[in-house]
Amino acid sequence: MRWLFAIGLVGAASLYSTSRAAACSTCSTGDPTLTVTGVEQPFEGRTRVSLQMQHRTESTGERGVDAIDISEQRFELSGAYALTEGLFLATKIPLVRRRARYVNLARDEVMSLGDVEAFAKWFVYRDRSLAPRHLVAINGGLSLPTGTIFEDDQGRPLPLEAQVGSASLDALAGVSYSWFVSPFSMFVSANVGVPMWHGSTFRTGAVGLLSWAMQYQPLDVLALRLSLDARIDQAVREQDAVDPHSGGLATVVSPEVVLSPFDDLVLRAVVQLPGYRAVRGNHSEGVSVLFGAAYDL
């Protein structure tokens, strides 16, 4: 309940801080494309808040030996504000609930603020001011170690699988390209995250993210989206030993429905299906589902 109250406070603060209401987002961009969180077209003063809820499962380790089954629910409140026509400032504030079940039937269930991300997205190229068809942006930011590090009764940190954050300060950088030709649109991005500081005994490594998404919008209020995401993780080190079940390449295929029941509100429902994997040790992910709502203030 405290978390719901806190999220409400942040939402209220965002509303309070928005001194002027922009016109409808599609009118301001001149493009009718429904954009999900993270791929917004910029215009000065654009302010967007969104809330996403994701459920996912994951397993690491060897059955009967050291397997850990993880179930996670992530609620993410995001805010983005276009300081100028070409510069977005954004933040993501996750609330994470995680349950880790071990081979010895022990269980850890934790809930806390996750790692808050703050970043800027700078649009370095747009082919025209209104209704751009090509947008190129670079972004950079930080993932802050705000997630609580949970410990056992002896004061030792729980395994990384039972933590809601990475306990590291990560630098984030990336580049993205968006293409809009109604009723189609496409989004491609490449991002890296590099840990710069670790605050616990486990050491998460660098991560690379590649995304491609294609969207078809048959109706003004409805779009269908298909994305392919690849994630390359460096192995995790725990107590100076490499976690044998970490690191490698994992891909996810995500069909998605995007709906706008009225101006400035975009709803999305995504199913994330695990795809090709080339990972070290035993590590698998289940099907995950995500629901999101984004609203332009």
Binding site: L9, A13, S17, N104, L105, A106, L113
Partner: protein, 213 residues
């Protein structure tokens, strides 16, 4: 109205919450279970503990692969059954009649376990794998060996750990009063290999286990 700063302070101030549920545990004990003293009256036992294991029952797949391994590659070592192990070499010294003491507490994976084992060895922490001192035929005597010895016992019936049965207590009952059966003070004054093997056989043969759930 509440400012962004206030909201941020509230957020940072909120600590996370955790709910932990303990899993399985198997306490492995050892006790001096010597009954009526015979010819040998011991006063102290020292065990060089190398490791303690609970060995899982082999699955059908493990049995099949072991059989195939033995059939196709006779020299192959295909006995890789799952086990729960506590490693940590140390010496456990017990005066005669000492109460039961805990060697380790394991936290095995859920499943069935068919045997339990204590590995005894001379290590940097223990001069001998087994040593015992006392009186035999009126003479003061001390016998020890640095041979590696597994005190292993089958669990019959096997112990199963699941959500309804998370714990077990297994006690190795050693009987030092019988460790020198068939040996004489004269033979042990300068023990040869046969005397050492007889001593080790007596240790293994006189050890039993008790299981409490």
């Amino acid at each position: 109205m509440i400012s962004e700063r206030a909201a941020l302070i509230v957020l940072i101030g909120l600590a996370g919450c955790v709910d932990r549920v303990d899993g399985t545990w198997a306490r492995i004990n050892v006790v001096d279970g010597s009954d009526a003293p015979g010819a040998f009256v011991h006063d102290e036992v020292r065990l060089g503990i190398e490791n303690v294991e609970l060995v899982a029952c082999p699955t059908m797949t493990a049995r099949a692969s072991e059989w195939l391994g033995d059939a196709l590659l006779p020299s192959a070592y295909a006995h890789s059954w799952d086990r729960s192990v506590a490693v940590g070499a140390r010496e456990e010294s017990m005066p005669a009649g000492a109460p039961e003491r805990t060697l380790t507490v394991l936290s095995p994976a859920a499943g069935r376990y068919c045997s339990v084992r204590i590995g005894l060895a001379a290590t940097q922490r223990a001069a001998a794998s087994i040593a015992v001192s006392g009186e035999l035929e009126g003479a003061r005597i001390e016998v020890s060996t640095d041979l590696h010895l597994d005190l292993e016992s089958a669990l019959e019936p096997p112990i199963e750990f699941d959500v309804d049965a998370l714990d077990a207590e297994i006690t190795f009952v050693v009987r030092p009063s019988r460790w020198l059966d068939g040996l004489t003070a004269e033979a042990l004054a300068d023990p040869d290999e046969a005397a050492e093997f007889a001593f080790v056989r007596n240790v293994a043969a006189s050890t039993t286990i008790a299981v409490r759930r």
